[in-house]
Symmetry: C2
Subunit: 212 residues, 2 copies
Amino acid sequence: MRISALAAEAGMPVATVKFYLREGLLHAGTPTSATQAVYDASHVRRLHLVRALLGSAGLSVQQARTIVAVIEAPGDDLYHALGRAVGALPPTPAVPAAAADGGEPFPRARAALESLGQVYDPDFAAVAQLESALASAEAAGLPVDDERLEQYGRHLAALAEFDLDRLPADPASAVEYTVLGTALHEPVLLALRRLAHQDAAVRRLQARPENG
Amino acid sequence: MRISALAAEAGMPVATVKFYLREGLLHAGTPTSATQAVYDASHVRRLHLVRALLGSAGLSVQQARTIVAVIEAPGDDLYHALGRAVGALPPTPAVPAAAADGGEPFPRARAALESLGQVYDPDFAAVAQLESALASAEAAGLPVDDERLEQYGRHLAALAEFDLDRLPADPASAVEYTVLGTALHEPVLLALRRLAHQDAAVRRLQARPENG
DNA sequence: CGTGATTGGATAGTACTGCTCTCCATTATT
DNA sequence: AATAATGGAGAGCAGTACTATCCAATCACG
């Protein structure tokens, strides 16, 4: 399969495939000469993955590149591979402040995790994301109280257990499963949450028709 | 309070405040003459909200404008206000296809909602988002099976109940609470999920040290 | 009352991103 | 030998979130 066939298979212009090649999102084909290479099913699969990461998961090219790199070279260490991958997922930076003033860098996140009985590793990017999200919500006038944090944490821990129960035994597959699961299931989760809110709202309005 | 004081209060350049004014993200101040206006605490609050929406929540200016508009003119109808607001949240469109071929536009989403016993309203944007997210995950080689959908749905329904239990009685406050909660709690939710995954992974690796 | 600073308002410019287009020498196909 | 396609690289383009410049009107101050 050459590049035009690959592009047709994945349903995108050849120029875009070339762009992904240049950006390191798609591994090179096997060259058959100085100006020709053949691609196989792994390239088709990768293109679908890249489309999902850039489209539905809403990642930037840079972020997707990190994810793809982790999947290509997982390194047998699920914990650090997951750490690297999660660090690349949005919301990305957004937390430059409050880190260097000597004090606790992530006070809210730390308190939350401790009250949930979860590990607290300040190097894990999601800790900074949590801190930033809590600070933003508070700044916008909608602080997240302890009870809500507790509720959210418990339900998400249950879901995490469910996800981890399905972890493949093979370490390389485990990394890919976890990384892709983190990135690709998030949109599903958010959509389901919005729908659950809608459903709950409808039920309440039916129960109290004076508000509908 | 004039514009420079407002900008200082909110911690951003005057040019940015002017930009938000132009983009309809910030309501105008009360003019005291042809070239002067005064701003109050509501403007400071709004700027914090806008920063949270554009920053932590990751919205575009366009999306934030819709949210702000819903909050300013909620219209007493929580269901439709929520619908308008959620329609503006990312991931935004991404689902132009499969809608006009006469068949069911969102088969996966519909099946999921019916098996969860939730309302199915194809006009609700989150339905399209769910369909798109499920299709993307499947295209990337990580299909979401019924059991996972069921689990996710149940836990998120429980969280939605929790959120709705805290709904303010006043309709205008209810809309603002719901809309902001949808937008601003999502980053919290995602961060907590990633942390729960990390925590669960650590526990499993400790239990099976041959994989760490 | 006059002079310099500030304001609201508009226009243009910037930096970045995700493609998309064009070009080219080399190679495959006929 | 003629035509077409390829890999590779550079430039171009449209959109986004600001940012900077300019302007006449107005304010603050002596």
